[in-house]
Point group: C2
Chain length 336, copies 2
């Protein structure tokens, strides 16, 4: 069935029938605004991200279900990067009028999967017709007062730490776009999954916020080289990254080796890793990393914050160079 | 200058440089998420609306500045319809890469005007490239606990009341689309302004919520005939509208008369009036209307809530008929 036959209100009823609102939701979908209670002593968080077809994703290699997962997951990652709990999501969906209803149901299946996995309630949205698919999600979260972690608190001498491994998502995208190289091994499936179904680091963000020892934090979305510069601008500092310390998965190393590429390119400039990148005073680093390790979360010290003036630099293979900027910038580059 | 030259981050800096965050905003634009305090005893409200070029607006007769005003105003209207105060807005903007930077500045001028007029802080957003203009706004508000007014509380016997006049926006759209009929009189300017720069009824919504006497409420966006049906569905009731009581402006009557049209068509089915439509028990109606009148807000009793079963009906010119449904439904009709 096409959307034109079902109509806007039929579609809303169809995709929202299985959505159970959270305990603090007084009114979810179906009124002029959603209504919810807040917990005393909490600060509220809100973030929004928009995904455009052929700019942020291609339906050639992304299923509607994976698109639903990822669209909400990247917003959850933004809340995680503040140290918060994700709570309420609103979905604005612009679709061509001849879209198939089944595809929209699959999109909501993916949205529902990630929502359930991270305790998010879908409380509202808007569905409109347009030329191409534009998916805009707003996510509200909360964090204990004075426990939010900003981008702006890094100081010279702080260590730079990242969770997990970097570059897998970009390598996965390469495989999705170059099916010839994709032998279908388990390792390659993991790389593609890192791109299509990122797992936001909510638990790590909560643990890091609770330590009180993190001076600045964000999630790696534009790419390490761009994101460390975001911290630098907000904190008025520069950074020195230690290339050999940047954590790479075996799957990424194997693929890069087979292609004769340096895996660090993907890790530095690929983006969409949704790992947490944060800074910690030297005296706190072991304690903070131990807290993560006790919950099975891997982290690596990849550099240090420096006084402003020399720019962001990379020490790699015995050379010290200015860190090239390779991340994503809308309107500056063509789509990735 | 085109957006391609300025880049995403340059654009964000340009349009946000004059934005002063509200007193409760701990962190506005520029981090992974905005952070704000909430007032104890308040419920939070959140709503989102998406406007698509050539579906919701045409840049042939809408300026970018008016578009900015209206896009945020319609969200403010949703918060008003719950009885709430609008607080924090997030703007997601999808633009063609060759858009002129000046147009985006004008859009933000309009957004800033309505934000200032209604005490809203812009705290976040996302700007991305795409095929056509898609503007998605999320607005957060608050209302005193247990004072939110839903669509679902209307009971048979309640009176149906509306603020202001209906149909002006649709008549204004007619003038904008049919320049031949537009002689440029002050009356016609008012009709066009009703369409391009709607004034959300925040004060009326606050007063109505405080009376405690309103059983159901929404804002007239799809059109009276559709919106009264929304209340009916949510409250499980039907309605009888008294056609002669529906408030029409002199400007609307004059234009309809000149065209040989019935002005009630615009008032019933036009939509985008952003007046408040609400129900009140009979014993409370005078007190509630007096409260509005004391603040200079006009209201009219336009019908009564009936027991479910007979459908929504219209009594007009001595006849009783089923109320035709003429509002806007995405995917069902072509764009308006």
């Amino acid at each position: 069935m096409q959307l034109g036959e079902l109509g806007e209100f039929g579609l809303i009823e169809l995709v929202t029938q299985d959505i159970a609102p959270g305990a603090e939701v007084i009114r979810g979908i179906g009124d002029d605004a959603a209504v919810y209670r807040v917990r005393e002593g909490d600060w509220q968080l809100v973030t929004t991200d928009t995904l455009v077809e052929e700019v942020h994703f291609s339906l050639e290699y992304t299923t509607w279900r994976d698109l639903g997962w990822k669209a909400l997951a990247v917003n959850i990652s933004d809340i995680a990067a503040m140290g918060g709990r994700p709570l309420y999501a609103l979905i604005s969906l612009c679709l061509p009028v001849d879209s198939d209803v089944v595809t929209v149901q699959e999109l909501y299946t993916g949205l529902g999967e990630v929502a359930q996995a991270f305790g998010v309630s879908l409380v509202g949205g808007d569905t409109v017709s347009g030329l191409s698919v534009v998916l805009s999600i707003t996510l509200i979260g909360a964090v204990e007062a004075n426990r939010a972690v900003f981008r702006s608190g890094a100081n010279p001498g702080d260590l730079i730490i990242v969770t997990g491994t970097l570059g897998d998502s970009a390598a996965g995208l390469f495989l999705l776009q170059n099916a010839d190289y994709d032998a279908g091994s388990e390792a390659k499936r993991r790389l593609k999954r890192a791109h299509l179904r990122p797992e936001p680091r909510v638990e790590a963000g909560r643990l890091l916020s609770a330590t009180g020892g993190v001076t600045a934090m964000l999630d790696v979305s534009d790419g390490l080289s761009s994101d460390i510069a975001h911290i630098g601008r907000a904190s008025q500092v520069d950074s020195l990254l230690w290339g050999e310390n940047i954590p790479l998965s075996d799957a990424l190393r194997d693929l890069a080796s087979a292609l004769g590429r340096d895996p660090l390119e993907w890790a530095l400039h690929g983006g969409e890793d949704y790992e947490l990148l944060f800074t910690v005073t030297r005296g706190q680093a072991d304690r903070v990393r131990d807290t993560l390790a006790a919950s099975g979360i891997r982290s690596a010290v990849i550099g240090e914050v420096t006084a402003p003036g020399r720019g962001n630099r990379l020490e790699y293979k015995g050379r010290l160079e200015t860190l090239p900027q390779g991340g994503f910038n809308h309107f500056r580059m063509s789509g990735k």
